[in-house]
């Protein structure tokens, strides 16, 4: 019998047998890969394999006689269904009666017991926190037992996709230049080495892209950078000759993917490592040489990558133009298809949009699974249509589509909400306008250089809060350059994040409102941080909105907006028209003219 044919109870039994053999009293299986990726490759979907639960977030804990899955409210229903009869109990996060995983372990285990986990799937910080909490009851932790690799017999291999060159004409900065900047930051942190473990940092630093992870054009690898070394840990099969030669001529030494641990161990004793302890796996910490000191900090490549150079910014402007053309064609097609009574579903619509994007030059893929959502589905924050959930669009409600493209010259992320019904209700208009005023509030912001993003979050929420509305996700995330559509280290959101907003950062701007059971509304643009005025009170920064797609002004209640907001909106619409029209047919252009008239 193939392992993949085992039932979940059989998998649990196999795990328990191995736990017993290895002297472990509990085992934790989080949703994480060695690179702390948003989308782990199949070989690292341990939690899905052990539990059958397919949600994007959740942690399984197994003891000799109990098993539980901890997940958040997005997945309560799905987890209930998928865990039925598996022997795994559902622990609903954030409910008052739900114990934390560590409280559960402290209740189930006794002093002297051992909790195992795979250090490659745990961040250094989380592993330390787990150990500290467990030690309060005399329970030991052991990250060295990757026993699922043994139990999961037909586990897929590590992705073998080909990497390819990110040409300098799009990257704007060579690998040697990037390595020099990283080295400066290592030295500034009083360290000697850093390990790049995030796949997008590896891709950015070495000007390569890959196809190992859905939606993220990255290749599986690590890197070690020190004063005298630049090592890329990436398997031979991934590297085409041209790319390998260019890397070697850039002074990059290439070693096998699995050679990282031995390389780290061979470094001089007492070396100092600048590591992002929240985003570096604990296995790396355990492989450091004797006496090594970890200096915690943001990974230099992460910071450098977030601040786009002129070439990258030029690429983004090209990418949003292409995206704007595709979005315009799609909305025109959609309007006409619906007018003709053709059947359009969430999925078929998203497919059509993909085809318009795919017509654009340098298109690689979508940057995430499109959130194409009709009516009540729009209110499900992380909804993505599947064949099971797919519904037809009708002229009775709102349609929200959040999508993006990966182009070799830039990554895009855009959301528009349009009225499919001829006469939007007053509530729809009021809701749409409050959320849009948030998008505009961020877009028009001027703020002192050096502040953290959370200080600007209220600009996005002001009109919504005034109306007694709130949304619980972030407002702005970083966007990679032909890389992950969600990147750090900066953000604008309610949660604290000490990273400063800096000139050259590219982010989303996506305030929203979700009326459960009715509809969701979000107008998301991409923004670029730019230098603004300098006064006796210091330097100020501002944002450029670069996304080019009309906003459905039939949903706008002008009376709720300030004159400045109205002016911004009219300017925006005019700019959308002026920028896109030269790239559209006469008919498309006339259609867009009508959509972009001033309010």
């Amino acid at each position: 019998m193939k392992h993949s044919e085992l039932t979940v109870p059989q998998r649990l039994q196999a795990l328990r047998d191995e736990m017993k053999a290895q002297g472990l009293d509990a085992y934790i299986i989080p949703t994480s890969d060695p690179h702390m990726s948003e989308y782990p490759a199949s070989c690292w979907k341990y939690r899905k394999w052990i539990s059958g639960f397919t949600g994007s977030a959740g942690t399984v804990v197994v003891t000799a006689d109990k098993a539980g899955l901890w997940t958040d409210s997005r997945y309560f229903l799905q987890a209930e269904t998928q865990l039925a009869d598996t022997g795994i109990d559902l622990y609903r996060l954030m409910l008052p009666e739900t114990p934390s995983i560590t409280d559960f372990l402290k209740t189930e285990l006794k002093s002297g017991d051992t909790v195992g986990y795979n250090a490659l799937t745990y961040s250094i910080l989380d592993a330390e926190a787990l150990a500290a909490d467990m030690s309060k009851k005399g329970i030991k932790t052991d990250g060295s037992k990757a026993i699922l690799d043994k139990v999961w017999g037909d586990r897929p291999s590590i992705p073998e996709g080909k990497a390819f060159e990110m040409p300098l004409k799009y990257a704007g900065k060579s690998t040697p230049e990037k390595v020099e900047e990283i080295r400066k930051m290592i030295a500034n942190a009083d360290a000697e080495y850093t390990v790049l473990s995030a796949l997008d940092e590896v891709a950015w630093t070495f000007n390569l892209r890959g196809s190992d992870v859905t939606y993220n054009p990255v290749a599986v690898g690590y890197s070690l950078i020190g004063k005298d070394c630049v090592i890329l840990f990436m398997d031979d099969a991934k590297l085409p000759d041209d790319l390998r030669k260019r890397l070697e001529s850039d002074g990059v030494e290439i070693r096998r993917y699995d050679a990282l641990a031995e390389t780290l161990k061979s470094l001089p004793e007492n070396s100092k490592f600048l590591l992002d302890v929240a985003h570096t796996n604990a296995g790396i910490a355990e492989s450091l040489p004797k006496g090594a000191e970890i200096i915690p900090g943001i990974s230099p490549a992460n910071t450098l990558k977030s601040i786009k150079n002129e070439t990258e910014l030029k690429g983004f402007k090209s990418a949003v133009l292409k995206d704007g053309i595709a979005m315009t064609k799609y909305f025109k097609w959609l309007e006409e298809a619906m007018a003709k009574g053709e059947k359009v579903t969430e999925l078929s619509g998203a497919g059509k949009l993909r085809s318009y994007r795919a017509e654009q030059p340098l298109f690689l893929d979508e940057s995430f699974a499109p959130i194409s959502s009709y009516g009540p589905h729009g209110a499900v924050v992380h909804y993505t249509p599947t064949p099971e959930t797919d519904v037809e669009l009708h002229p009775d409600s709102l349609y929200l589509i959040d999508s993006g493209g990966q182009y070799l010259d830039g990554t895009t992320d855009i959301t528009r909400t349009i009225a499919l019904l001829p006469e939007p209700t007053e509530q729809m208009k009021s809701d749409f306008t409050a959320a849009l005023r948030g998008t505009i509030g961020i877009a028009m912001a001027r703020f002192p250089k050096g502040i953290r993003g959370c200080l600007l979050d209220a600009y996005a929420r002001h009109a919504l809060w005034d109306a007694g509305i709130n949304y619980l996700h972030g407002t702005c995330h970083g966007i990679g350059h032909c890389l992950n559509v969600h990147e750090g280290p900066q953000s604008i959101r309610m949660e604290e994040n000490p990273v400063k907003i800096e000139t050259g950062m590219v982010m989303s701007d996506e305030p929203a409102m979700y009326r459960a059971g009715e509809y969701g509304i979000r107008t998301e643009n991409m923004i670029v941080v730019k230098d603004d005025i300098k006064t006796q009170f210091g330097e100020f920064l501002a944002f450029d909105t670069i996304t080019l797609c009309y906003i459905d002004t039939r949903l706008v209640d002008k009376s709720q907006m300030t004159p400045k907001e109205i002016a911004w909106l009219n300017d925006y619409q005019e700019n959308v028209y002026a920028s896109l029209a030269p790239h559209l047919s006469e008919e498309e252009s006339a259609w867009l003219r009508n959509k972009t008239l001033p309010i």
Copy 2:
């Protein structure tokens, strides 16, 4: 020769002799007392004694051959003057060339050396950070050497002011009730004891007030609270019989002030202490019994104290009414005195205001040294007039007065900026309006329950940032109830503070702008957090502005304000008039009517 007559170099020499005798290679003297008070009593002004520097912030470090004072930009000029010829170098904080104190120590000392300090003047957190940083170079730290107590021969004794009863009719909650609430929070934190070391927490918990500290009606003491004990460490001489009897009948055990350490040492081994490590002195940590565990957290009394009960809130409303009467009388007097050409100075004006406050029932004292500042002095953020700096008010600029009163039923804090010149300039109006819109922005805020204060800070700065202006201090601080005018744990400011804003908190609302060399502008009101609407998106909170004093609308540029802001201002002015008029003479009332007409 009395010690107080020693010159600073002689004091330094005495300290160095003692350092040598005790085997210390450096000694740190911060500005702090064992209670981490904003205003240390004379006996704890070690840093002032050793250096002669009288600013409110600064740290002296002495080695065998060097001595330095680290202070911030407010005090650069003053420190330069006061340190001249003392042998103490000035280290200007925040300048790029200035080493941190620990970097200085790591440069001056060698491995094996010892840095001494008085643990009573260091927080647990700071002491730990110092030890961790010093250990990187093998330097030891020793907080057990309070050698300045020896060197400073005629050091004043610990304050002996009398404590007095805070009547239940103003406190609203009895000591046993407060102790029960504290015990619940200790248990919730999984701890067994807490130590109250902040003097305002002691005063609040035991419903007593004192006169040991300027402006803060507190009495020097500590408290230890556990499941089975409530001990107040306060010297006999402080406690009048009535108060002592009431405390004893409330189940409070009273011990000598200096009995805290021995009491802590006598507690059961392995006890768990909930301690605010940032605000509890390291001497307390060193006195804990063997195996004691410190559970870091906000002191329960600090949290409870910040959320005012109905009786306290009623008292605040009475206090702001009295304050409003005094402010109105003062501004009328000032206007008339200046019209008559009488000489009024910053100090004499502040004195007059004090006299009006003193006429009010239950007045105890001012709540801080009034910032009575004319023209350019208004732009010096922490300016307080002294006989040396005092200037006459002229009808040529703006006058800013920030002041407050301690009344038995509440503490006040108010700032108004008025035009002394007949025709304010456009720049003055524009600046005043931008800052006032910040005050109104906070006043009108509606926000989700559970958010941190920093998320609201942009409401205070929006109009200022739009104008390229910023101020670097906080926007809102907590205000004690007949206690410290600055209290925590909450705040609204740019810096991160994890404390949530909760219903019942009383705070200042004081956005500002400072035009160096010209004037400063600040409109500061007191606000109370209240429950607002509840929607499908959750509970929302809002603020009530309770301060009652007219705003000088001659400085307002209506064209820069939104209709909502104008309505708020007109409503506010009308409410000021309606609330104060019944308590004013006919003449005063007519004068105020004129000041509060709608714009």
